[in-house]
């Protein structure tokens, strides 16, 4: 047991507990804040594995962008201290049973799998940002130029679509 492994377990407990609070709580603003903490914990896990670039992306886009957007739209559509209406018991029990069955089955498969118990050693070299930049913009073998362009078209379409949806139509009469 070295420090990294203990730190991973601590971080994963934080991530799972805050995600669970975010799903189970009845106050929507608290749910957003717990989601934010859970996402920061996931960024910590990435940092632990020497994935600095992905951790920075996670912090910038998820924490700085998506959660802030969600909090803004919560304030546009709810009062801050308002509680969500209680769900029906049958609905909660049904969803809980579905999620529990899925989780038990998946972890049973994962923990009993022979394939995953091979002695793999993780790399210790940190992620090189120069390598990422070179590989994402080449079009030879293992280059990612086409998905990069497709994603940039997607972002353009989302920009136009967001404006089109959110625009206010004036009443003609």
């Amino acid at each position: 047991m070295n420090g990294t492994i203990i730190l991973f377990y601590i971080l994963s407990v934080i991530v799972i507990v805050f995600a669970a609070i975010s799903v189970f709580t009845q106050k929507i603003f608290r749910a957003a804040i717990c989601l934010l903490t859970s996402l920061v914990g996931i960024a910590g896990i990435y940092l632990l594995w020497d994935m600095d670039f992905i951790a920075a992306l996670q912090i910038i886009i998820y924490v700085g962008g998506i959660v802030v957007l969600i909090i803004f739209s919560i304030f546009l559509t709810h009062r801050a201290s308002e509680k969500l209406p209680e769900q029906t018991l049958i609905r909660r029990i049904r969803s809980f049973i579905i999620a529990l069955i899925g989780f038990v089955f998946t972890s049973w498969v994962l923990l009993s799998s022979q394939l995953l118990s091979v002695n793999t050693t993780p790399s210790s070299t940190p992620l090189s940002i120069k390598e990422i930049g070179l590989q994402i913009l080449t079009f030879d073998k293992y280059g990612y130029l086409l998905p990069f362009e497709a994603v940039s078209f997607l972002l353009l379409a989302v920009l136009v679509g967001g404006i089109t949806i959110a625009i206010k139509h004036k009443n003609k009469n």
Binding site: L39, L57, I70, I132
Partner: protein, 104 residues
């Protein structure tokens, strides 16, 4: 030096996935449903990074997939929130049971 077994990482990410699935099925508010989708996408990201680090440490494909997933999640959330706010403006509610104009 002993290493963290990869199956423990996968169990953590599947726990995150099924927490998201519970939220997706049990909630009725559209914003909380979007938050559950974020949890599900994040668990997929953890899996990609873990497999990249453990199985193919000299390649970068898992990193690229994670980057594309993050980009598409950002796009999805911004469009989804635009639709939700438009819905709120028109129906004055964002409960999925109450917004049934286009249901049939």
């Amino acid at each position: 030096m002993e290493q963290l077994p990869i199956s423990h990482i996968l169990v953590v990410s599947s726990a995150l996935f099924f927490i998201g699935v519970y939220g997706f099925l049990a909630r009725r508010n559209l914003i909380t449903i979007l938050m559950s989708i974020e949890l599900i996408l994040n668990s997929a990201n953890i899996n990609f990074i873990a497999f990249n680090k453990y199985l193919y440490p000299d390649k970068l494909d898992g990193v690229f997939f994670t980057m594309f997933i993050i980009t598409i999640a950002a796009a999805e959330v911004s469009l989804g929130l635009a639709i939700i706010i438009n819905l709120y403006r028109r129906f004055n509610t964002i409960d999925i049971e109450d917004t049934k104009t286009m249901k049939y």
